[in-house]
Symmetry: none
Amino acid sequence: MPPNPIDVKTKKEPPLYRKIADTLLSGIRDGLFPVGTLLPGELELIERFSSSRHTVREALRVLEDMGIVKRQRGRGTLVTSTEARPAFVQAVRDPRELFTYPENSAFRVLAEGSVGDEDHWPGKIGEGVDENWARIAGLRTLHDGSPFCWTDIYVLPDYAMIAQQLGRTKSPVYEQIAETFGETVQRISVEICAGSLRGERAKALLVDEGTPSLVLYRRYRGNGNRLFEVSVTEHPADSFSYSLEFNRGWQAAEHWSWSK
Amino acid sequence: MPPNPIDVKTKKEPPLYRKIADTLLSGIRDGLFPVGTLLPGELELIERFSSSRHTVREALRVLEDMGIVKRQRGRGTLVTSTEARPAFVQAVRDPRELFTYPENSAFRVLAEGSVGDEDHWPGKIGEGVDENWARIAGLRTLHDGSPFCWTDIYVLPDYAMIAQQLGRTKSPVYEQIAETFGETVQRISVEICAGSLRGERAKALLVDEGTPSLVLYRRYRGNGNRLFEVSVTEHPADSFSYSLEFNRGWQAAEHWSWSK
DNA sequence: CTCGTTAAAATGTTCGGACATTTCCCGCAG
DNA sequence: CTGCGGGAAATGTCCGAACATTTTAACGAG
């Protein structure tokens, strides 16, 4: 009989190496093993969990794949983070985590427009979009109150109301669209290029006219390749960083972030 | 004895599980195990490679992490692809593919400098770099002859000669450094931000003063966290694009590229 | 022919052991 | 004080074995 995906009752016991990994992760998050310190050696973990070395190593491998620890021969197991790998790889597991903003950020709608507000509309991005989109302009600020980025949101008219709700929630755009329309995001694309901040954008972000800034175009496509959201974001004086750390074998740890 | 970075002769043998993985991957690519078929069982592989089950499983785990095969308990090891996961993840397997330039591009050395040519040196990037770096400025052009990007290369003096060879080869910087010194790249980091093209840069790229452009800072680190190459690149009117395509499950296809 | 049982096959989990390689630190010679 | 060597510690690689869980297919009862 094929297993029923809905059958939640069969809560099977997780394997031992998984429980060890969870225990260690809890210890890391509780401050027992702060970031920057070394985890106990394998021999000590074997004693503590009354297990074999292979099982302990399997648990540590889980944490390594998560990006929680970094193992180094001759040195030990270094705690590098309390959270699982952010970056692109995690986004694959949970797309909602992709392309969101820092926590403690506020969103304020500055203006609303409709067809014709195209002073910043990128023509090449508009492929596949009919002419009836609407524009909503907003501003997010960092938690300390300083301007962080300017966001233009272009949506199809059906979804205009979603954009209006952005000021009242912390969940990312993707989630709202998906929840409201039951759509499934099939493709996310992001384009990064450089631009200059002028006019109301420069004023809102408290920078000089012509200040260079990063510009991000984002597109989300649902079933049947139907476009349901496009947005443009400009980050002044911010930079996007991406780094790769090589482990043995094939896996690597990825990090990416926005920083001032 | 501390390892000598100059000692190139010690080309160490890769571990056995790595060689098994490579052999299997060759077989997959040669059509011996077409996509959609099952790989031989672990027991058979143990006999064929005269190895232990642990080693064989380690090899299969490498292929699984690469996205080449998908393992399923009770069923077997299914070949799902002949190519590793593209984009960022692939870069892990072969860092030389990362951050290279389009084919048919030419490189021309415009100027050479040394300590003090710091008009564009990013202070925050300089952490861990002593003061004795050298700067080599160059320009790459697209195959149609139009300017593509400006590249500043900052290297430690020991590696200055490598930069001088850049005009005479098509291989990326990483490859030259690795081959010459037998180093292993442990970490690659890239930072993308926005800037304005001025002075000789604007002139070389045939754009107006103050034209916004993307600026990339790249760092390569070898064993012992030793920095051995830093470069700065500016792309005028170019854009970086990244897209994610979701399949069922958690796997996804990634694409990224530079485009005009 | 259909359905349920059973057996075989394949991978997943766990244990125990041995040696290799790298890193770090301490002590000693200069 | 510096530099070198060596040992201790930690992780990496590899072998052998046993049992558990899942899938698939063959088989037999109805």
